[in-house]
């Protein structure tokens, strides 16, 4: 998995449709009700972080905001809660992208873990301040699940870009 971020590979620019598709799939996964267990990964968080670092021109703070609000509505939680968290994760990930992407999959996961924990902590702070129930410590398991998944996930999301140039690929928008 170390090859993921080796700069030796020349990456094709990601296709907007692929970004959209992966974000949509992640969003769909996050809408599936999963019960009490806290260690389900939150894919929107992870996929968004990935694209925020890899394609900051297209995926930024506002993408995070819109996705966050949609997640809030879809799950019936407080409006703006996930949006706030995602916005901060994207901002911090983009600021540190150069440093983070220098590492391999597990290194990246380790550096991203604090950001994801922050995202969960932000949401907890907001909801607890508003009189919510304490969700238990396994609530933070989501961040660890994302970190555990990160090497495979980033490999899968990067894969289409480091394949040979496809002649049938539509011209990039940028």
């Amino acid at each position: 998995m170390q090859t993921v971020s080796r700069p030796a590979r020349v990456l094709q620019p990601p296709r907007p449709r692929f970004i959209l598709l992966t974000l949509a799939l992640a969003f769909f996964w996050d809408l599936i009700p999963k019960g009490e267990w806290g260690f389900w990964p939150e894919l929107t968080l992870a996929v968004l972080t990935f694209w925020a670092m890899r394609d900051p021109e297209r995926v930024g703070v506002w993408t995070a905001f819109v996705l966050g609000v949609m997640l809030d509505v879809g799950r019936g939680v407080a409006l703006g809660q996930e949006a706030l968290a995602l916005v901060w994760v994207v901002y911090l990930a983009q600021r540190r992208a150069a440093r983070i992407l220098w590492f391999g999959g597990w290194g990246q996961a380790l550096l991203l873990l604090p950001l994801w924990l922050l995202a969960l902590a932000l949401q907890a702070a907001v909801r607890l301040a508003a009189g919510g129930d304490w969700p238990g410590w396994d609530y933070f398991g989501t961040a660890f699940a994302d970190a555990a998944l990160w090497p495979i996930l980033s490999y899968a999301l990067l894969w289409p870009q480091w394949r040979a140039v496809r002649s049938d690929a539509p011209a990039s928008l940028s």
């Binding site: 019960g35 703070v61 799950r75 019936g76 949006a83 916005v87 901060w88 508003a130 969700p135 238990g136």
Partner: protein, 288 residues
């Protein structure tokens, strides 16, 4: 914020190239604004509904895996389990029939007395059977989602019961599903009275599965093992539904600290009942 708003109207405030910091600030502000409006003022129902219209098909698709899993587990329940349950249900049905027969007689009698006393008719109850679909995906609250919504006549604020007692209250409705906040949710309040002597109070959810009875007179007579029933004073819940059993009464500090536990199995039950109090149509006394 050195330049005041509107100081130079010709210069656009939002360039295409806002710095990342500015974008973050603006997005944070927007998110916080949403949170305050939603949590503090509950003012964003329309926004939520508008976005839900777009999201609903996606949501329903996302619920398929859960539905498959639960339906699958029922399909594979063993015959012995089903037979045992069937036997149990038959026995309960027999008992209930007997009770229902007595109840009908009592109801007629009660109505007659009320008429004689010139009291208004008792409100009638309308019930809707619902099935629990799943826990709401919000770790900060105790809510469940059930499979009947506005289309089936579920309305905001209705009481939700299981066979034992009060489970919660409908707090959000959609056409096909609705969300029930459990009485154990932190600070969720239900007006109750002690079944034994009619002492009134309010039980609040503590967020840890227990409830606390508050707003009692200082010398109120409440003991452990007392049963609390809805008082019906809120005009929403029908009176007389079992809510909780008093676990401990602590009057050590001058204030009474009364902890109760809910009698309903709510969270673990699959089938629940939404109950609506329908006001009686004509009232002989003319008052309501």
């Amino acid at each position: 914020m050195n330049s005041p708003l509107g100081a130079s109207p010709n210069v656009p405030r939002f360039h295409r190239t806002m710095s990342p910091g500015q974008r973050l600030g603006l997005a944070t502000l927007a998110a916080v604004l949403l949170l305050v409006l939603d949590l503090r003022f509950g003012a964003l129902g329309a926004v939520r509904d508008a976005i839900s219209v777009v999201l609903r098909p996606v949501q329903e698709a996302a619920h398929w895996p859960v539905k498959l899993a639960t339906d699958g587990s029922i399909y594979f329940a063993t015959l012995a389990e089903v037979q045992a349950e069937n036997a149990r249900l038959r026995r309960i049905e027999m008992e209930d029939r007997l009770r229902a027969a007595t109840l009908a007689a009592l109801e007629a009698e009660n109505a007659e007395f009320r008429r004689l006393l010139g009291m208004s008719k008792r409100a009638e109850l309308r019930t809707i059977g619902v099935e629990v679909l799943y826990d709401a995906p919000d770790p900060f609250s105790r809510r469940i989602v059930v499979d009947r919504g506005a289309n089936a006549g579920v309305r905001l604020g209705l009481a939700v019961l299981d066979a034992e007692g009060l489970v919660g209250q409908v707090t959000r409705i959609q056409p096909l599903v609705s969300e029930v906040t459990l009485i154990t949710q932190k600070d969720h309040a239900v007006p109750v009275m002690v079944q034994r002597n009619g002492v009134r109070g309010v039980v609040y959810g503590l967020g840890d599965g227990y409830l606390e009875l508050r707003h009692l007179l200082a010398d109120a007579d409440v003991r452990a093992d007392d049963l609390l029933v809805t008082s019906g004073l809120d005009g929403v819940f029908p009176p007389g539904i079992l809510v909780a059993r008093v676990v401990s009464v602590d009057t050590g500090t001058g204030f009474s600290h009364i902890v109760c536990e809910p009698v309903a199995f709510g969270e673990r039950r699959r089938y629940l009942m939404v109950v609506e109090r329908v006001p009686a149509k004509e009232s002989p006394a003319g008052g309501t």
